[in-house]
Symmetry: C2
């Protein structure tokens, strides 16, 4: 494709995206397709001859769009948001247009240094400590996801525990039942056995990890000759945005020399607002690694997960292998960061561009205002649900997520949970909204996560009206 | 940023990229900057207030571009190529514009099914076996890199060996000194100790792994009670594009029940050409996993690495952890692929779009013609170098890479290697070309990898003239 063809088709695609964003509400939020529907629309082999661009673009509408679930739709309240925004899309476009690959400083000096600068900027905006900055002993890096960040943090912890090149059967990792499954996945990949993945009790009300129980478990493991390697504390769990007591857990970690990883994947970015900075209490003092995802709630297209370490030596020592064909004068000088040594893959895209463009376009005040708006909308939903006696609302909703469940009087718990699941199916089948669910204290609970920049108060209210309408349709005896 | 602002700024960025691609030869290939130069141009904090787009875009030119190494430059001959192309850039743009996240089939039915279809298309184009197709017992998946593919393949191999949830100190992995460092990195991450990473001898001429030595090593390990877990065979090593005898190695693997991973990251895509399909001999019969990177040499922007497995069960069983908040009817039905279970991260971009657009725009014949053109240009370079008695050319260059070294008569080997390194520094400092190096049989050797769609015969000849000119400048006694 020549530069002039790219110029013409590129503008067509830009127009298509602008039209898509302007008209996104005309689509059902969740793709109304069945398994195999999209595959059935596609030929079984690649074309032998090249095709004109217009035919390809027409097939985006004809073949692809019916199978797209619209994460940027204002009615998307499922899981956690995966924010996109204009400046982030343009950052991705520019990155793709440059086609640079920043595995080493030498192969992408701007890719490397801009990344260091924007993660330093972000650390400052979130009130994270100065020594996590890349010009200090620690440093930040963009990963594809908090899952990958958890894995490399665990490998760094294993290095510090002397186990990166030794048997790991003695190593123990501490999570709670609320910790994201990516930590268990990281442990499995790294060879920490399931039987050595310790589940710390949580407070039944707050769902936060109990430091006393962590202390008990660690002490028992030490006494038994195990090697307590990592504790994963969460700021904003995936299920309910519960917040573990990082400081108290960190005390236990420090006492026993255990690596403290803080998973703030969703909620960490909320600390751009000074009034929410308390969520990071204890992290500065105790965290060895900390991850938050601008690609969830900070207007930056997936993938953009930022991992900081308080000391970069264990991470780099654990992951660095330097074959001859990657040696170069800049690396040999020791004066540069080669981000390949901070991650699983070797190659890397120029992801810093999109985060830089987001931070510049919105400014710190724009980012704060986005987070505040979502928190307010979540509060509005909680008030609506709380004032309807058909629903029980979980009172903890400091961020954009509200958990609630419908009440099914006279129905046994299992049947009530099934009715809640049926309500969820009806809501999601409607195409107007998309919610997800979780389990709290053994009960099925609906999750309503406000996070899209397109979502306004009118969408939250309309979504709530739909929840109520479907609920009442399922309980014909209840009046409207 | 509103849809209308995006429409306007998006077209500016498209124009910028079209101008960049049209004028790329005006830039020095490798960024002529020193460590810290780009950081020094950037403010130390994020802006408080949002900034206008034009200022951000102007800073791309002012701040970023001086630090960009131009991987798409026709004078880029270093490492391996990281092909970009118009349709791939537009695929990335569309993916970013949709902002969809396909961790589960349900959260991205088109994202999931298009991915299955395009990797099936690619398997067919490369002559890979039908049972690797996603509608068979195996299946393909897009990873970010061959490094991540090696890691998940190893975890699958550990699962099959009964060691995914057990101690791994008995597990052994077999590579050669020519195997990419990502395999050693994967082993380190997964807890296979360095002392259990066996180095199989290579033939001193072909640099290909010796199956007899593999047999010896495996048999000795079995006798000693070890658990031989994975052999990594390479089709097109990074250093010199050496080709391991996959069939003969596979025989050893089959005899001992060892997982055979085939790393064809760079060269595998060359099998789009029937005349190069021999490179995959043995893979269909013996490989348990096979990876090749369209993002290297098949016109598809990084990241797009395709991993196939002959049987998907070990991979999915090893990596699947299903918390309540990710459960959904489609997953429960067992009728769909959830690609989160095929990779380290949970989230995923809609990367299939770019590969689909590349395959449709170029067609199979366009992909073949791209590969053939690069092979021909590499042949041209080899002829030029081979006809100059100042250079020794390595005769093995079936793909786009040619290795050669200058001859420094009357110079001891160490000094000659240093002179070769100095020649490389001078070439790369010139800004006209960018080459990299490796070591073969203990000697420093230059690598000249032809792969950019922008590179033509005139660029190869000009690059060679520059090599000769710098060489002669360093050997003033030699006439031109």
């Amino acid at each position: 494709m020549s530069a002039e063809q790219f110029r013409a088709y590129g503008k067509q695609v830009v127009d298509w995206i602008a039209d898509y964003l302007a008209g996104i509400e005309s689509y059902p939020v969740r793709a109304p397709v069945h398994p195999g529907d999209i595959r059935a629309r596609l030929p079984s082999s690649a074309p032998e001859h090249g095709e004109p661009w217009d035919r390809i673009q027409a097939d985006v509408d004809r073949v692809i769009m019916p199978g797209v679930t619209h994460w940027q739709h204002p009615g998307f309240f499922a899981y956690f948001p995966a924010n996109a925004s204009g400046p982030a899309i343009l950052g991705e476009l520019l990155s793709a247009g440059l086609g640079a690959q920043g595995m080493l400083w030498e192969t992408g000096p701007a890719c490397t240094e801009l990344e260091s600068v924007v993660v330093d900027w972000l650390a400052e905006l979130l009130g994270l400590p100065a020594w996590w900055r890349t010009d200090g002993p620690g440093g930040g890096v963009i990963q594809d996801s908090a899952s990958s960040a958890a894995l490399v943090a665990l490998v760094a912890a294993l290095w510090r525990a002397g186990r990166v090149d030794a048997g790991r059967t003695a190593c123990t990792v501490y999570v709670s039942a609320q910790t994201h499954s990516s930590m268990a996945k990281a442990a499995r990949i790294a060879g920490v056995t399931t039987s050595n993945l310790r589940t710390v009790d949580v407070d039944p009300d707050t769902l936060a990890m109990r430091p006393e129980h962590l202390e008990e478990l660690v002490a028992a493991d030490v006494a038994a000759g195990a090697v307590p390697t990592m504790v994963c504390a969460t700021i904003g769990t995936t299920s309910t945005t519960a917040i573990d007591p990082v400081g108290a857990l960190g005390e236990v970690c420090r006492r026993h020399g255990v690596w403290l990883h803080v998973d703030a994947a969703y909620a960490g970015v909320a600390a751009v607002c000074p009034e929410l900075r308390w969520i990071n209490d204890g992290a500065a003092e105790y965290a060895d690694s900390y991850v938050t995802d601008p690609h969830k709630w900070l207007l930056t297209n997936f993938d953009c997960s930022v991992l900081w370490v308080a000391d970069r030596e264990p991470l780099v020592e654990a992951l660095s292998i330097l074959p001859e064909y990657l040696r170069n004068p800049a690396t040999d000088s020791g004066e540069v960061i080669d981000y390949r040594d901070w991650q699983v893959p070797l190659g890397r895209r120029f992801r810093a561009l999109k985060l830089w463009m987001v931070m510049r376009w919105y400014g710190a005040e724009g980012l704060r205002s986005h987070v505040r708006r979502c928190v307010e909308l979540a509060g509005e939903l909680a008030r609506l649900a709380g004032s309807d006696d058909g629903f029980t609302v979980y009172e903890h909703h400091p961020f954009g997520l509200v958990c609630f469940r419908p009440i099914w009087p006279g129905t046994a718990e299992a049947a009530a949970d099934e009715a809640t699941a049926e309500l969820l199916r009806r809501l999601n089948d409607s195409g107007a909204v998309y919610l997800s669910h979780t389990t709290v204290a053994g009960r099925t609970v609906l999750r309503f996560a406000v996070g899209s920049p397109a979502t306004g108060s009118e969408h939250v209210r309309a979504a709530w009206q739909r929840v109520v309408a479907e609920y009442r349709a399922m309980r014909p005896g209840v009046s409207g």
